[in-house]
């Protein structure tokens, strides 16, 4: 009889890293509990009144009275859940209304709602690119994009982050006649930088590739109508598939794909992460639809969010912090930490000041960086942003980063 092998032994390294970090006495950055949520920008976290600066709640829709009322009504009228797949008993009026709202928001012909943004990428990417096809993607793509590649059978070809020439070289070398899908993101969530979509999409089209753009971190905020970076750069018409999420600007949970492809509706029958899971609860699609419609008229909020992003970026730069981008490009401001220990210490110091940010570390981060990721909200007041800057200054000095 052979000795049994513990399947968990492969996690020993990460268990050790975590134990070392906690042994230093730092609060666990990955076990934070929000006991009460007071508003889109404030909560009681681990017992402290805390300003939220790491929630992706860009447009602050989570406590919008119309959104909440729509959810309550749907809960009363349609119940707490659908208990069914979209293709069986899980398509309610609310799901169709949500898809109508998306079609209007993006001015596109088709919209398909998934249970999460992760599943939208997983489903669309794995389904449309088959065994003989090539997926060309940015090396810093989100996990849901990589997992979509893993779930499918296509040839996977990554290129250096935001490198137009590297993309073109790879497209040029793909064998004649092969199907090609280029996968890009509008905003890359780790550093908050945007992609040169105009140039990249032009190159992709030159080589006959279809283009999918994940606009999770730009919806509602970037572009004249809040349609994202592709809209801001004037190339939305050349995007074949836009992937998005309800868990950021929309303020609930869910994912979607919008497209003008004439055969798009067949996805509902062939896309496994759409078919083999339960649909979103009625209250969720009702809040999403209401929120999406309100975001169509959110230009004042968008302007204030830009103000916040610019002020935080310039304030932190002036204090001597190293940021992920030289100029503010989105509502994400990433503060680069010297290492994980200092990053965790800084994260804890900020939490004790009453500020929540995201601690991001490898392997989720590019180039093995440790980051304190700040995501701003349109509901942060200008005064709150000044308060936040004061917290960063005190914490940064206490930890010895500035």
């Amino acid at each position: 009889m052979s000795e049994s092998r513990d399947l968990f032994s492969k996690f020993d390294d990460i268990i050790q890293t975590r134990e070392n970090l906690l042994a230093s006495g730092v609060e666990d950055p990955f076990s934070l509990v929000m006991e009460k949520v007071l508003s889109p920008t404030r909560a009681i976290c681990n017992g402290r009144d805390t300003i939220l600066l790491g929630t992706y709640n860009y447009m602050g829709m989570t406590f919008d009275p119309d959104v909440i009322e729509a959810g309550k009504q749907a809960l009363d009228n349609f119940g707490s859940g659908t208990t069914g797949s979209r293709v069986l008993n899980g398509t309610y009026q609310g799901h169709k209304e949500c898809e109508e709202a998306l079609k209007e928001f993006y001015a596109m012909d088709h919209a398909m709602v998934f249970s999460t943004g992760y599943q939208a990428n997983l489903g669309i990417i794995s389904t449309i690119a088959g065994k003989e096809d090539y997926i060309v993607l940015d090396i810093d793509s989100h996990a849901s994009i990589w997992d979509g590649c893993s779930l499918g059978n296509a040839q996977i070809v990554p290129f250096k982050h935001n490198d137009i020439e590297a993309l073109e070289k790879r497209l040029r070398r793909i064998p004649e006649g092969a199907g090609k899908l280029v996968v890009l993101e509008g905003v890359y969530s780790m550093l908050g930088d945007i992609a040169p979509l105009k140039e990249m999409i032009a190159v992709s089209k030159k080589y006959g590739a279809m283009v999918l753009v994940d606009e999770a971190h730009s919806m509602g905020f970037i572009g004249e109508h809040g349609r994202g970076v592709a809209e801001a750069q004037g190339v939305l018409d050349d995007v074949d598939f836009v992937i998005g999420t309800f868990s950021k600007s929309v303020g609930t949970v869910g994912g979607f794909c919008v497209s003008n492809h004439p055969k798009f509706e067949i996805m509902r029958l062939v896309c496994r992460p759409y078919v083999f899971t339960a649909s979103l609860p009625p209250s969720v699609v009702a809040t999403a639809a209401t929120s999406i419609r309100k975001l169509m008229h959110g230009s004042n909020k968008r302007a204030h969010l830009w103000e916040n992003s610019k002020r935080l970026h310039s304030g932190l730069t002036d204090m001597g912090f190293t940021l992920g981008t030289e100029e503010p490009q989105s509502a994400i401001v990433a503060v680069i930490m010297p290492d994980l220990e200092k990053g965790a210490a800084m994260w804890e110091a900020l939490l004790k000041e009453g500020l929540y940010v995201n601690l991001a570390r490898p392997p989720a981060t590019p180039a093995n960086m440790t980051l304190l990721r700040c995501s701003l909200c349109a509901e942060h007041s200008s005064e709150e942003v000044e308060t936040i800057l004061g917290m960063f200054e005190r914490a940064g000095k206490a930890v010895g980063i500035i």
Binding site: Y134, I139, C149, I156, F159, R170
Partner: protein
């Protein structure tokens, strides 16, 4: 280009990535012996792709564990 020429070219390309100056034989592994992380792999693969004007997809990379397998794969790909 025959296998020996491909070998010689890749030997030159790998130098800047072989930080510890490991002696490279056909059995030398990238993850184990050379301790390449994912970023190093990407840069190294890009250097080879540019030199030979080929694509080595991640699916193909998954089959390549050691130096000899890489030389074989590149020899085959540049012949196609």
């Amino acid at each position: 280009m025959d296998r020996a020429e491909v070998d010689a070219t890749i030997r030159t390309l790998i130098e800047p990535f072989n930080k510890k100056g490991i002696d490279i034989a056909d059995g030398t592994t990238f993850a184990g012996d050379l301790e390449f992380d994912s970023l190093t792999v990407m840069d190294f693969v890009a250097a080879i792709e540019d030199e030979f004007d080929i694509i080595i997809s991640m699916n193909q990379q998954a089959e390549i564990e050691n130096y000899g397998q890489l030389v074989d794969a590149v020899s085959k790909l540049q012949g196609e």
